[in-house]
């Protein structure tokens, strides 16, 4: 549980860990049902439609003005997004 939370970058409180562990175990048990079926002969569905080869020509479109790009930035410094150090 904690390992998964770390991968998902969620800092859970002890209370949350306890509560979620119980709920998620129940859910996992329910979804594990899928393994009851023998589907070796069935292809996985990646997409509901049979589309292939959808792409666009290499032609530029206007980018955002810098102020729009930074409009929602929680913290900025000049033209950069600013975050705490890695």
């Amino acid at each position: 549980m904690l390992h998964v939370a770390k991968l998902a970058r969620l800092e859970l409180t002890d209370e949350e860990v306890e509560r979620f562990t119980e709920q998620l175990s129940a859910i996992l048990e329910a979804v594990a049902k899928v393994s009851e079926l023998d589907l070796a002969a069935v292809e996985p569905t990646a997409h509901p439609l049979d589309l292939v080869n959808v792409w666009a020509p290499d032609e530029p479109r206007p980018s955002l003005p810098v102020d729009d790009a930074l409009a929602n930035a929680p913290e900025r410094e000049a033209g950069f997004f600013k975050v705490p150090p890695a």
Binding site: M1, V4, A5, L7, A8, R9, L10, E11, L12, T13, E16, F20, Q23, L24, A26, I27, L28, A30, V31, A32, K33, V34, S35, E36, L37, L39, V42, E43, P44, T45, A46, H47, P48, L49, L51, V54, W55, A56, L64, D68, A69, A71, N72, A73, P74, E75, F81, V83, P84, P85, A86
Partner: protein
């Protein structure tokens, strides 16, 4: 102006504007007035827009549709204050059709939920009974339309989030064929399942709105052109239509007797209107559909929600230590319980060692579900069932047990997994609360669904106005 916003259909309203009997601004103002009067109780809206910058009638958008310059939160604290710098394609298409944005409606956070109780901004109440839920995740849009606070609205449907609230609020909701409506600008939950759907008072309104938003979008490579133009339904009979009743969808444990009674009546009505009605089977789709959905959707969601990290927009919670701590704290503070649960479930299902057993296997079950539906469609044109096993339940009734909440979607999920369209129309009342009738068709069969839905709607004559407000 005095408008009966409960009964006024979008088609009626468009007529008023076209005949010059009302201006776009007047209509917009009338709905804002209604919202002012009744939305304190219902809380269908998260915010409204005062300016009516259009030439036609107003529309409400679920708050996961990006609207340039208008705050968009997806029902979450992690996007509190986020103002998009671009419009979703569906928003652009509505604007180009002259529609004016009335406001953004409440929803379960990141579309994860079946009651709108997972909204970080408080629940929405069902206009039919304010102690009950409107359904979810598009509960706000459903309540707005049912409560006379919008002529029509857009919602989104992943596991049933348009159909189920439509059912619980007594309105019409369409979940379109996957790929016919653009997802560009729609805050993503599960990419291979999300679709924007019209939520309206009548089936004709539904077709009108679908016609405005549907069609291939160059910004969304998973969209396609409609094979035929959208037809606004006229016919009121069902001659020549083969209606299939899948046993599993209609006999799931948990379907309330009152719901079953109304649905059975609607099926009988199909016969009376000239349809050929027969039994069919979806042997494993219902049994395994929920498990399949609750593996695939959270897996995709766990990845789609990774961008909410406090770097470029939205909530940021910092401490003294570095960026990783910022991620952890921001996401813990910003996400509610349901997104957290689903992110963890999805992360687990995709993690090394578990992928094949969970996500990989679920994608195969998905193929199986598609195959079963295709087989049923060899003998039938449309499949029917209740939309929701129950009528609207009470606020707080299912919040303690996530699994119980998930079961609300057991009837809408299977066809969603196959990318198929589904229309829910109100077919009657049980204990004074609306019952929804689900019509499922093959891919690109919206015109048929509209035809069948319209004919039934005319025959049923469901009164749109919530009993207590009439």
């Amino acid at each position: 102006m005095s408008l009966d916003t409960f009964r006024l259909t979008a088609e009626d309203a468009i007529g008023l504007v076209e005949r010059g009997e009302a201006s776009a601004a007047e209509l917009h103002g009338a709905y804002l007035e209604a919202i002012g009067e009744r939305d304190d109780e219902l809380h269908a809206y998260l915010r409204t827009v005062d300016e009516a910058d259009g030439t036609s009638i107003p529309i409400a958008f679920k708050d996961l549709i990006s609207t340039r310059g208008v705050e968009t939160t997806a029902g979450s604290k992690i996007l509190a204050g986020y103002v998009p710098i671009y419009d979703a394609t569906v928003a652009t298409r509505c604007r180009e059709a002259g529609l004016t944005l009335l406001g953004k409606t409440n929803m379960d956070e990141f579309a994860m939920g079946s009651s709108t109780e997972n909204s970080a901004y408080g629940p929405t109440r069902n206009p039919w009974d304010p102690d009950r839920v409107p359904g979810g995740s598009s509960g706000g849009s459903a309540a707005a339309v049912a409560g006379g606070l919008a002529p029509w609205a857009l919602g989104s449907d992943t596991g049933g989030s348009v159909k189920q609230p439509a059912s619980l609020c007594g309105i019409v909701g369409l979940r379109p064929t996957y790929g016919t409506v653009s997802r560009y600008g729609i805050v993503a939950f599960a990419s291979s399942l999300d679709q924007i759907g019209p939520m309206t008072k009548t089936v004709r309104d539904c077709a009108l709105l679908y016609r405005i938003v549907a069609g291939r979008d160059r910004c969304d490579t998973t969209t396609v052109e409609l094979p035929q133009p959208v037809e606004i339904p006229e016919r009121e009979d069902l001659k020549g239509v083969r209606v299939g009743v899948p046993a599993e969808l209609n006999e799931v444990e948990g379907i309330a007797p009152g719901v079953k009674a109304q649905v059975d009546r609607a099926i009988e009505l199909c016969r009376e209107l000239g349809a050929e009605v027969g039994e069919t089977s979806l042997p494993r789709s219902v049994d395994y559909g929920l498990a399949c959905y609750y593996l695939i959707a959270p897996s995709e969601a766990s990845s789609n929600l990774a961008r909410y990290d406090g770097v470029r927009y939205g909530l940021r919670v910092t401490g003294d230590d570095g960026v990783r701590a910022m991620y952890d704290r921001t996401r813990d503070a910003g996400f509610g319980d349901e997104p957290k649960r689903r992110i963890m479930l999805g992360t687990y299902a995709l993690s090394s060692g578990y992928y094949e057993a969970y996500y990989g296997q679920a994608q195969r079950v998905r193929t199986l579900i598609a195959q079963e539906h295709a087989a049923a469609f060899e003998d039938f044109d449309v499949l029917v069932s209740p939309t929701s096993p129950t009528v609207a339940f009470e606020l707080g009734e299912k919040t303690a047990n996530p699994l119980a909440m998930y079961l609300s979607d057991v009837l809408t999920i299977p066809s969603n997994m196959a990318g198929l369209p589904g229309l829910s129309i109100p077919c009657g009342l049980s204990d004074g609360l609306p019952v929804g009738f689900q019509l499922i068709g093959p891919q690109f069969s919206e015109n048929l669904l509209f035809h069948v839905g319209h004919a039934l709607e005319r025959a049923i004559g469901f009164d749109l106005v919530p009993g207590r407000l009439a």
